[in-house]
C-alpha cells in the first residue's frame, strides 16, 4: 500500500498550494467586501 507515499504528498502539496492561494487572496483584500461582487456581476458592460 505504499502508493500512499506518492498520493499523500501530492494531496497535501495541492492542499498547501490552495491554502497559500487563500492566504494571498485574503491578504490582498479579496474578501473585504462580500456583498457587492454578487451585484456587480449582474452589471453588463455598456457597448460604446
Amino acid at each position: 500500500m505504499n502508493i500512499i507515499y506518492i498520493l499523500l504528498p501530492i494531496a497535501l502539496l495541492l492542499g498547501l498550494g490552495f491554502v497559500s492561494a487563500f492566504v494571498y487572496s485574503s491578504m490582498t483584500g479579496q474578501y473585504d467586501d462580500l456583498e457587492t461582487p454578487a451585484y456587480r456581476a449582474l452589471l453588463d458592460d455598456e457597448i460604446i
Partner: protein, 726 residues
C-alpha cells in the same frame, strides 16, 4: 497580482487609463457548436450501448461497435467532449466578462480549441479499434494522453495570463472554481497517465494491483469532482444570477463552501474500493470523507436554489430557470446519494450493481446536462444577438429530457437493488437462493429496455434543442463587428495600498503571484513523482513470495485481449469478503493476487459474473464455445459474441517486447523467460490448441487469439488454488 507598468515612472501618479477592447466571443461560439455536435454523438452512443445491453443482437458481431469498446467511447465522449466543450464555452464567456478583459492570447485559445477537438476525434477512432489502457475514464492511449496534457497546459497558461491582466480587482467566486478545475485536473491527469509504452498504441501503467486501483479511483472520483462539479458550480454561480437577474443568495456562503471543498477534497477516492483488498483504514477514511462531502455540496445547491427567492413564479414561464432548478435539484439528489452509497453497509449491496449507474446518470443527465442546456439557451441569443426561435420547443425539450432522466434513474434503481438483493439472498439452510448468476441477469432485462427508452427520450429532446438552436442561429443578423466595451486598467492600487501599510513580508510576495507559484508547485511534484515511482515500486514486488510466478507470455497477450475488448466493463475480478460472494465465487480476493496486474482489472460493474476465480472452473472447450456464442452455453445470456477472436491470429513476435516492458516495471521475469518468450508462448498455445482439436474443434484454431484469451482466463485465481498465497 502585480502588474509591471513599465512605461509610467514612479514619481508621476499612475492615472488609470480607460481602455476600449472587445471580448473574444468567436471562441465561445466555436466551443458551443462543438458542444452540440459532441453532445449528440455521446448521447447517441449512450443509447446504442443501452440497447445493446437490452438485446445482444445489436452488437452485430462487429468488433468496432461491440459494447466493450463503445462504453468507454460513451463515457469519454460524454465527459470530455460534451461536458468539456460546454465548460470551455462557459469559462471563456464568463471569465472575460467577470475580469473585464479579452483572453490574453487568441492564438492559445485557438490552439486549445482545435487541439481539444483533435483529441476527441483521435479518441473516437482509437477506442472502437480497441486501443485502450483499460482504466475507467482514463482509457485513452499514451499519445492522446500526452496531447491532452499539452492542450491543457496551453489552456492554463492562457487563462492565468488573462487573470493577471484583469481589469476587475475582485476575483468572483466562479473564477475560483475555474482555477481549482484547471490546476487539479492537470495534476490528476498527469499522475494517472504515467504509462510505459510497449508500442505506439499500447502502454502499461507503472502502478499495479491495489496501487493502481487507489490511483485510478483517486483520479476517477476527482475527475468527476473537478471536471463535472467544480466547473459546473462556477458556471452556475455566473449564469444563474445572470439569467434570473438576481444576485446569488449568499455570496459569503459560496466563498466558504468553495474553500472548504478545495482544502480537503483531494482525499476522496477510496469509496470506490470498499470491501476490496484496500487496507481497512483506507476504506474507513474514504467512507468518512465522502459522508463529509455532503455538506459543501449541499451548500452549493442551497445557494443556487435560494438565489431564485422572490422569482419562483418565473420558473413557470421561463425554460432557462426550469433547467437551472431541475439541474440543481438533481445535483442535490446525486450528492446526497453519493455519501449514502459510500457507507460500507450500503456499498455492500450497491457496489457492482446498476444502482451506481443510476447515481452517475442522476448527476450527469440531471445536473451536468440540464445546466449545459440552460447555459446554451441563455448564451445563444446573447452571442448571435437574436431571440430564441421557439420558447415552446424549449419547454418541450425540458419536459422530455426530465422524463427521460427520471425513467433512466428509476429503472436503474430498481435493477440495481434487485441485483444487489438477489446476489445476497441466502435461504435458511445456508444455500444461495439464486446460485447461477444468469437468473439475476434475466430478471432485469425488461429494466434495461426501460432504461434504453429513457435514454432515447433524452436523445430525442437533445435533437429538439439542436433544431431550435440551428433555427435561432439561422435567423440571426449577420453583423460582423464585435461589440466594443471599456473599462479602467487596474492600477496596482491594491498592492501599493498594502505597501503603504509597511508590511515588509508582503513586498516579496508581490512579485510572485500565488497562482503561478501553485503551477510551479505542480511541476515540481510531477518531476519528483516520475523519478520516485520506479524506485518505490521496484523493491515492493520483491517482498512478495518469490515462488509467485507472473503471467506467461501467452497469458499476458490474452490479458491484453481482455483489456482490448473491455471485458472489465461488465466483469469484475474482485471477490469481496461477504458471505454470499464467497459462497458464489470462492475465497475472497487477496492483495497478492493482483500485484503484477498492469493495469489492475478489478472492474466496477457486474453485468456478468465475477471472474477472479475463473481458472479451472470450466474446461477450455466451454470457453471456446462460450466466446463464439454465449447463449449456446448459458441460455438467456446478453453477452455479445466475439467471432473475430476465431479469425485473427496472435502476434507472437510482439510478446517478448511486452515481457521486457513488464520487467522494467518490476515484474520478476528472469533473463531466461525473456529469451524464450516467443518459443514458450508458441508451445503453450500449441498445447491448448491440440487439446481443443482432440475434442473436435476445427484445426484452424491453431494460433487464433481465442487460444491466448483462454490461457489468460484459465490462469485467473490459479496462484491461490496452488497455495502460493495465504
Amino acid at each position: 497580482m502585480s502588474l509591471e507598468s513599465s512605461e509610467s515612472s514612479k514619481d508621476q501618479p499612475l492615472k488609470p487609463q480607460l481602455e476600449n477592447f472587445s471580448y473574444d466571443d468567436a471562441i465561445v461560439k466555436k466551443f458551443l457548436i462543438m458542444t452540440l455536435v459532441w453532445g449528440a454523438v455521446a448521447l447517441l452512443v449512450g443509447v446504442v450501448i443501452a440497447v445493446q445491453l437490452a438485446d445482444w443482437r445489436f452488437n452485430f458481431g462487429l468488433p468496432w461497435i461491440t459494447f466493450g469498446r463503445l462504453r468507454p467511447l460513451h463515457t469519454n465522449a460524454a465527459i470530455f467532449a460534451f461536458a468539456g466543450n460546454a465548460i470551455f464555452a462557459g469559462i471563456y464567456y464568463s471569465t472575460q466578462r467577470l475580469l473585464k478583459t479579452r483572453m490574453a492570447s487568441d492564438l492559445l485559445s485557438q490552439i486549445h480549441f482545435w487541439g481539444w477537438q483533435a483529441i476527441i476525434v483521435a479518441a473516437a477512432l482509437t477506442l472502437p479499434l480497441g486501443y485502450t489502457v483499460g482504466k475507467e475514464y482514463a482509457e485513452l492511449e499514451l499519445p492522446i494522453k500526452l496531447a491532452i496534457t499539452v492542450v491543457w497546459v496551453v489552456f492554463a497558461v492562457n487563462y492565468f495570463k488573462t487573470l493577471l491582466q484583469r481589469r476587475e480587482r475582485h476575483i468572483y467566486v466562479a473564477i475560483w472554481f475555474y482555477i481549482a478545475t484547471i490546476i487539479t485536473v492537470a495534476l490528476l491527469h498527469v499522475i494517472n497517465s504515467i504509462n510505459l509504452p510497449v508500442s505506439f498504441w499500447k502502454s502499461y501503467p507503472v502502478y499495479a494491483g491495489v496501487q493502481d486501483a487507489l490511483v485510478q479511483w483517486w483520479y476517477g472520483h476527482n475527475a468527476v469532482a473537478f471536471f463535472l462539479t467544480t466547473p459546473f458550480l462556477g458556471l452556475m454561480y455566473y449564469f444563474l444570477p445572470k439569467a434570473a437577474g438576481l444576485p446569488v443568495y449568499s455570496y459569503r456562503l459560496s466563498i466558504v463552501h468553495f474553500w472548504s471543498l478545495v482544502f480537503i477534497y483531494i482525499w476522496a477516492g477510496p469509496h470506490h474500493l470498499l470491501y476490496s483488498t484496500l487496507p481497512e483504514w483506507a476504506q474507513t477514511l474514504g467512507m468518512i470523507f465522502s459522508v463529509m462531502l455532503w455538506a459543501p455540496s449541499w451548500g452549493g445547491m442551497v445557494n443556487g436554489l435560494l438565489t431564485l427567492r422572490g422569482a419562483w413564479h418565473r420558473v413557470r414561464t421561463e425554460p432557462i430557470l426550469k433547467f437551472f432548478v431541475a439541474g440543481l435539484t438533481f445535483y442535490g439528489m446525486a450528492t446526497f446519494e453519493g455519501p449514502l452509497l459510500s457507507v460500507k453497509s450500503v456499498s455492500a449491496i450497491a457496489h457492482y450493481t446498476d444502482w451506481i449507474i443510476a447515481h452517475v446518470h442522476g448527476g450527469t443527465l440531471g445536473w451536468n446536462g440540464f445546466l449545459i442546456f440552460a447555459m446554451i439557451y441563455w448564451l445563444v441569443p446573447k452571442l448571435w444577438k437574436t431571440e430564441l426561435y421557439s420558447v415552446k420547443l424549449a419547454h418541450v425539450h425540458f419536459w422530455t429530457a426530465f422524463l427521460g432522466t427520471l425513467i433512466y434513474t428509476v429503472s436503474m434503481w430498481t435493477a440495481g437493488i434487485t441485483q444487489g438483493l438477489m446476489w445476497r439472498a441466502v435461504d435458511p439452510s445456508g444455500h444461495l437462493v439464486y446460485p447461477d448468476f444468469i437468473e439475476t441477469v434475466i430478471k432485469i432485462i425488461p429494466l434495461y429496455f426501460l432504461r434504453a427508452i429513457g435514454g432515447f427520450l433524452y436523445l430525442g429532446s437533445f435533437f429538439l434543442m439542436l433544431y431550435n438552436i440551428v433555427k435561432t442561429i439561422a435567423k440571426a443578423p449577420k453583423t460582423k463587428a464585435p461589440d466594443v466595451v471599456s473599462a479602467y486598467r487596474l492600477t496596482p492600487v491594491a498592492l501599493s495600498n498594502l505597501s503603504q501599510l509597511g508590511d515588509r513580508p508582503h513586498r516579496i510576495l508581490e512579485g510572485l503571484p500565488a497562482v503561478f507559484s501553485v503551477l510551479t508547485l505542480i511541476a515540481v511534484i510531477v518531476g519528483t513523482v516520475i523519478e520516485l515511482i520506479p524506485v518505490f515500486l521496484g523493491n515492493q514486488h520483491v517482498a512478495a513470495s518469490s515462488s509467485l510466478k507472473p503471467y506467461t507470455g501467452l497469458e499476458l497477450h490474452g490479458r491484453d485481449i481482455y483489456v482490448r475488448e473491455g471485458c472489465y466493463v461488465c466483469h469484475s475480478q474482485m471477490i469481496r469478503p461477504i458471505l454470499s460472494e464467497t459462497m458464489r465465487y470462492g475465497e475472497y480476493s487477496r492483495e497478492q493476487e493482483s500485484i503484477y496486474d498492469h493495469p489492475f482489472q478489478w472492474g466496477s460493474k457486474r453485468i456478468g459474473p465475477d471472474l477472479a476465480r475463473l481458472g479451472g472452473k470450466y474446461p477450455d472447450l466451454w470457453h471456446y464455445r462460450h466466446m463464439l456464442d454465449p447463449r449456446e452455453v448459458t441460455p438467456g445470456s446478453l453477452m455479445p459474441a466475439y467471432p473475430w477472436l476465431y479469425r485473427d491470429k496472435t502476434d507472437f513476435r510482439a510478446i517478448p517486447k511486452k515481457l521486457k516492458v513488464m520487467k522494467s516495471l518490476g515484474v520478476p521475469y528472469t533473463e531466461m523467460d525473456l529469451a524464450q518468450a516467443e518459443a514458450d508462448a508458441l508451445s503453450h498455445a500449441k498445447k491448448i490448441a491440440d487439446r481443443l482439436i482432440s475434442q473436435g474443434v476445427p484445426a484452424t484454431v491453431q494460433n487464433q487469439e481465442i487460444i491466448a484469451l483462454i490461457a489468460y482466463l484459465q490462469r485467473l485465481g490459479e496462484d491461490f488454488k496452488k497455495g502460493l498465497i495465504q
